[in-house]
């Protein structure tokens, strides 16, 4: 019994060379039983991104805690003069609501994708991309305003010099993430629109057949961008 089992389970010839390395590392076991590799890899990428943003926020905390120069008050720095008075943080609040709205439309897009409702999926994804682009536009406005007021990575008129460097670093990196997200939202929306996930057309980059899970994986990235903003909003703008 034992012997027959052993001989029977001897695997077929495995590929050699680089293909062999890939095949061996991908063999035998699967930790995430009901999650496709695409979704698992997106989660692991997001985990690594969590550490990147975590380190940025940590360095910001260290700079702010260790300086003997007073930190500029974000409530006043980011105030806008509207309706004849200064409203604190109003632009940042609007940006927060824009990003949360885009997260909601993305969640709905994923849902309609699995229902094979291509029209609604595309409309919701494009709406998400539009809200994301609006967010980046408002951020560009915010940067322009601060730069014109004299904020530089090496100094600013109101206090600790590290304010500018941490601000440009953290919001800049987050804005880059949003921009990349908008680009990929448009790419995936175009695929849904053409019906690539129904006909099984091969992708331009990986040459694999996609399915509607790509919309969910795209959604994971987008929600992560929103998630990071929750922390930036709390620690940088409100603290």
């Amino acid at each position: 019994m034992t012997e027959t089992t052993m001989t029977n389970t001897s695997p077929p010839a495995r590929p050699e060379g680089l293909q062999g390395i890939a095949a061996d590392w991908a063999s035998d076991q699967r930790a995430f039983k009901n999650v496709s590799w695409g979704k698992a890899m997106m989660w692991i990428f997001l985990l690594s991104d969590t550490f990147i943003f975590g380190c940025f926020l940590l360095s910001y905390m260290t700079a702010r805690m260790s300086t003997r120069v007073p930190w500029p008050n974000p409530s006043e720095v980011f105030a806008l003069h509207m309706f004849g008075r200064d409203i604190p943080l109003i632009l940042i609040a609007i940006m927060t609501f824009v990003l949360i709205s885009s997260s909601g439309t993305m969640a709905l897009a994923v849902n309609y994708g699995y229902r094979r409702d291509r029209r609604k999926t595309v409309i919701l994804m494009l709406l998400t991309a539009a809200l994301g682009a609006t967010f980046v536009g408002m951020q560009a406005f915010e940067w322009t305003k601060l730069i014109s007021e004299g904020v530089r990575p090496w100094g600013n008129p109101w206090g600790a010099a590290q304010f500018g460097s941490t601000f440009f670093m953290i919001t800049g990196f987050h804005g880059t993430h949003v921009t990349i997200g908008v680009i990929f939202l448009v790419i995936v929306a175009r695929k849904v629109w053409r019906g690539d996930y129904d006909t099984g057309a091969r992708g331009f980059f990986t040459s694999r057949r996609g399915n509607y899970e790509s919309v969910e994986v795209m959604g994971l990235y987008w929600h992560f961008v929103d998630l990071v903003w929750v922390f930036i909003f709390a620690f940088f703008y409100l603290w």
């Binding site: 089992t5 039983k33 999650v35 805690m65 260790s66 003997r68 969640a107 709905l108 849902n111």
Partner: protein, 127 residues
């Protein structure tokens, strides 16, 4: 003994094969869930903005900011990113490692307190 081990291995393999490997579950939930969470995210964002608008300062401010932040992050990860419905193997693999950032935070708090102390001691109380 050999046989037992072999059988044990067999059983293990059988269990692994029996797992629905090819069947990836799709995350499909009622739309109502999303709308409720969406609403709560708006409410919580408005609350955290109100903390600044009203001008609460000191420990109550920090406590409120952190509470609203954690609630928002939790809702996004659990519902929008579907982590609440994933198996624990994935949830733990993704959610536990960031906890170590808190250890890093504790280290850097000590470090920056020392830096501030030495700056105040050797360079004076600031400009």
């Amino acid at each position: 003994m050999t046989e037992a081990t072999a059988n044990g291995h067999q059983a293990l393999h059988a269990a692994n094969d029996a797992a629905p490997v090819s069947h990836d579950t799709h995350q499909e939930h009622p739309l109502k869930t999303y709308f409720i969470v969406w609403g709560w995210l708006f409410v919580l964002s408005a609350c955290s903005y109100a903390v600044d608008y009203i001008g609460i300062q000191g420990y109550p401010r920090w406590a409120l900011i952190l509470i609203f932040m954690v609630l928002k992050a939790g809702l996004i990860v659990a519902v929008f990113m579907h982590m609440a419905w994933e198996r624990l193997a994935l949830a733990y693999a993704i959610i536990v490692p960031p906890v170590f950032i808190l250890v890093f935070v504790a280290m850097m708090v000590l470090e920056s307190e020392y830096t501030l102390w030495s700056r105040l001691t050797f360079f004076g109380a600031g400009p």
